[in-house]
């Protein structure tokens, strides 16, 4: 099979998948919401198509389609960033943002400390780039995926302050994960032959390029363009930004997110961009899942204990983060101390961060990060669906 056919195969699956996603009545059942909405079936399809089983998507094809992964990562970053309009955020109760950040950062710290201890003391690991791996793992672990939660809230027609807060957390705490992972990639960057020899220069470069592109794009898109022209420009911006990230080995998700945040502050322009981004949201997510499956080079027995530590530390992190925030941050209504159970959902952005690492560093460390993320999606999503339903029922927000 050639790269063209490989791409075609993925296109067909994502195409059918996207249609199934929007039409299937089965997905509305709470029993399936966690399992299916998180995209696990697509990961399994990817595994079957990949080198481990039928080898339709062999290593060569996967390698030649890497720019597309980078593009998809940029897409996710831009889509997330463009929703972060400061004025809109100010409309929510002030402490929501603090609550979100604190629970996310506590999770990060707990995973970071646990995995550092595991990697460096308990089970000295054979992996390379260990510090990078710990940072990235903790960053992606701190993220809550919004898909499962949104599905429950929509399907059950949930209304109430707690569900509102949970949705807010799930929509926004990716910011910290993406930022920490993006900065980690800059910090651990190898020096260039000329210029940019220290880590702070790389951090500055990442931020400067992103803001620069955001400002230029905003300046440009203020002009009147037809819809196909806007599509071309947004598509070009995404390829350019993702390409810069890929070329400089800086996180395309982070770069695109900063561009998105810059654009988001200008509502008229950001709306034009948002319309384009939403057109391909589902196919891109499914494309990433299939790729994740085919790239998943698992070594169960070598990795399983490490992964269990990661899963346990994330579980603990989210519980402690939720508990601490619920107790010390006043959101003007009583928040259950086990709110952490509702923020365990895992998926898109975390997978994208793991992909980013795999794309740049690869090797056994990259494989481990992918395995940890995919298995965590399997475990957490079903659990979150049930946990969230329980909490919301208890709080009387589901009748």
């Amino acid at each position: 099979m050639t790269p063209f056919l490989g791409l075609l195969l993925i296109l067909i699956i994502t195409f059918i998948g996207a249609r199934f996603f929007s039409h299937s009545a089965v997905l509305k059942s709470p029993l399936f919401s966690g399992l299916v909405v998180s995209g696990i079936p697509y990961i399994l399809v990817g595994v079957l198509l990949g080198p481990r089983f039928f080898n339709f998507l062999n290593t060569e094809i996967i390698d030649s389609l890497r720019p597309l992964i980078s593009l998809a990562l940029g897409w996710i970053g831009l889509l997330f960033g463009i929703q972060l309009r400061w004025r809109n955020l100010q409309r929510f109760p002030r402490n929501y943002l603090l609550f979100t950040s604190v629970q996310s950062l506590i999770t990060f710290v707990i995973i970071f400390i646990t995995m550092t201890a595991v990697f460096f003391i308990l089970i000295p690991s054979p992996f390379h780039n260990l510090w990078e791996a710990v940072f990235i793992l903790a960053a992606l672990g701190s993220v809550t995926a919004p898909l499962t939660i949104s599905r429950i809230l929509i399907d059950k027609r949930v209304k109430g302050r707690l569900s509102h807060l949970i949705q807010f957390i799930a929509s926004l705490d990716s910011f910290w994960g993406i930022t920490i992972a993006g900065l980690a990639m800059a910090v651990f960057h190898q020096p260039a032959l000329r210029w940019f020899t220290s880590f702070w220069e790389w951090i500055l470069l990442t931020i400067a390029i992103s803001i620069f592109l955001g400002v230029i794009f905003r300046y440009l898109i203020q002009l009147r363009f037809l819809s196909d022209e806007v599509f071309l420009l947004v598509f070009g911006l995404l390829i350019f930004a993702s390409g810069i990230g890929f070329y400089l080995r800086l996180s395309p998700i982070f770069i695109a997110m900063i561009i998105g945040i810059t654009l988001a502050q200008f509502p008229r322009e950001s709306e034009k961009v948002m319309r384009v981004l939403h057109q391909a949201e589902k196919p891109i997510y499914l494309f990433l899942l299939i790729f994740a499956g085919s790239l998943w080079n698992y070594r169960f027995w070598e990795e399983i204990i490490l992964i269990l530590f990661f899963i346990a530390s994330r579980f603990a992190g989210k519980q402690i983060g939720g508990l601490f925030s619920a107790r010390y941050i006043n959101c003007a209504f009583p928040i259950p101390s086990d709110i952490g159970k509702a923020t365990l959902s895992f998926g898109g952005v975390s997978l994208a961060i793991a992909f980013n690492f795999q794309l740049f560093y690869g090797g056994a460390t990259g494989d481990f990060l992918m395995s940890a993320t995919i298995l965590a999606i399997f475990i957490f999503d079903e659990y979150t669906a049930l946990g969230t339903l329980n909490i919301l029922r208890r709080q009387g927000e589901i009748r």
């Binding site: 195409f15 720019p67 000329r194 940019f196 300046y219 196909d228 071309l232 930004a241 390409g243």
Partner: protein, 436 residues
């Protein structure tokens, strides 16, 4: 607006120049550099296209200029390996363009002009071939690789030059028609000639190369395997094209959603099948588009779906075409290249004029029709490569070099002339709005 566009273009160029100067030790950056270059080209080329439009030039001239400026021979923002890597998009672009060409071909409206179209193609072929045979004979001693060569070699080379001069770029025609939103009899005529000429060019070239090869390389016997294969490929491409059209039609009728995504997948499949079974990919998709337009009422849907997703493809295709233009080769052979371009224009004019006049073609077609057939790009380049493969040695090499040098001029001048002719006959969207 102009100032803002120029500012953004300059800032993007500065950023790209800065980025390409950051180098790392011992890593292969081709894939990532290509991706970065693709994004840069897409935005910068489109903005340059939009800027030159204000100077009454077609947008695709802007895309080509952007490619030249960013390409390996001017600023080197797009290096040779990066350009080569990006040329992988060519097949997708050409297929989409071919589908548009077939889809825009409405037999009902064109049928009245079929006589003129056929006669124009016939006379173009005759006159262009004759002109080049005469020119090469007269000029033979001034062409280094032909000086003092025997008659059969000169005749063989002359026929090859002639057959390559007949070729035109369907992509340029379609892009100009799409961007100008051109409609009318003149547009139909150019489109009709473009669609049929694509088949004729491939056939004429195959016949010529079958005869010319033993003339130039006497040790090669005359045989028609090559011609037979080409003939078979054409027939097979037409059959598969009809089948492809049928599938597209079924999809448009019974599903009809996410058509752009479907077409992209379908094109990838078509390219792969063409590669496996040696089909003519352009012909295949032209026939598919033709089928949908003329054997159903779904043609409008097809065209609007293609138009919805074709802009980025056009921009990249022409920018890369610009970046691929080989200027060192052009500079080395500029005089002969200019002569070839001049002769080609003259003979195309004569062929179109006679062909149209003999069949009662309109005055517009007689006087301006030839301007639609000047642009040359991928197809001619592909044929030039085939010449090099079929005629190993200095002669094949020199023919290819001269043709590549003349493509550089034709590709820049062609779109401008075609747009000029559309404006002159009043068939662009702007013309129509004004007259309404």
């Amino acid at each position: 607006m102009m100032r803002r566009l120029l500012t953004v273009i300059l800032l993007l160029i500065a950023l790209m120049a800065f980025l390409t100067h950051i180098k790392f030790a011992g890593e292969d950056h081709l894939m990532s550099a290509s991706m970065m270059a693709l994004g840069f080209t897409l935005i910068a080329a489109y903005l340059i296209g939009k800027t030159v439009m204000r100077l009454q030039l077609p947008k695709i001239t802007g895309y080509i200029l952007a490619g030249i400026l960013a390409g390996p021979y001017v600023t080197d923002l797009l290096s040779v390996p990066v350009v080569r890597n990006l040329q992988l998009i060519d097949n997708i672009a050409l297929s989409l363009i071919a589908l548009t060409a077939g889809g825009e071909f409405r037999y009902k409206t064109i049928k009245k002009q079929m006589k003129t179209i056929g006669s124009t193609i016939l006379w173009q072929v005759i006159i262009v071939l004759l002109t080049f045979v005469i020119f090469i004979f007269l000029y033979q001693n001034h062409i280094s690789f032909l000086a003092h060569k025997p008659l059969n070699v000169v005749l063989g080379v002359a026929l090859i030059f002639g057959s390559l001069a007949i070729a035109k770029s369907p992509a340029t025609t379609i892009a100009i028609i799409t961007e100008s939103r051109a409609k009318g009899k003149f547009t139909d005529f150019v489109l009709g000639v473009t669609v049929f000429k694509d088949i004729v060019v491939v056939l004429v070239f195959s016949i010529v190369i079958s005869f010319a090869k033993p003339m130039i390389l006497p040790e090669t016997p005359l045989h028609f395997t090559y011609l037979f294969n080409v003939f078979l490929e054409i027939i097979l491409s037409i059959i598969v094209g009809f089948a492809a059209g049928l599938l597209i039609l079924f999809y448009l009728k019974y599903v009809g959603k996410q058509t752009v995504l479907f077409l992209l997948g379908f094109i990838l499949l078509g390219i792969e099948l063409s590669r496996m079974f040696h089909l003519e990919v352009i012909l295949l998709f032209m026939v598919a588009g033709f089928f949908v337009q003329n054997f159903s009422n779904a043609g409008g849907k097809l065209i609007s779906a293609i138009e919805g997703g074709s802009l980025p493809i056009f921009v990249i295709f022409f920018a890369i075409a610009g970046a691929s233009l080989n200027f060192p080769v052009f500079l080395e052979n500029w005089f002969l290249a200019v002569l070839i371009v001049g002769l080609r224009m003259l003979s195309t004019y004569e062929g179109t004029y006679i062909g149209a006049r003999l069949t009662g073609g309109s005055r517009e077609v007689q006087n301006y029709g030839w301007m639609g057939f000047i642009g040359q790009a991928g197809l001619t380049l592909g044929l030039a490569v085939l010449v090099k493969q079929n005629l190993p040695g200095i002669i094949g090499e020199s023919i290819a070099t001269l043709i590549i040098a003349s493509i550089a001029i034709n590709q820049i001048v062609g779109p401008v002339m075609f747009r000029y002719s559309l404006v002159k006959v009043g068939e662009t969207g702007v013309n129509r709005r004004r007259s309404a």
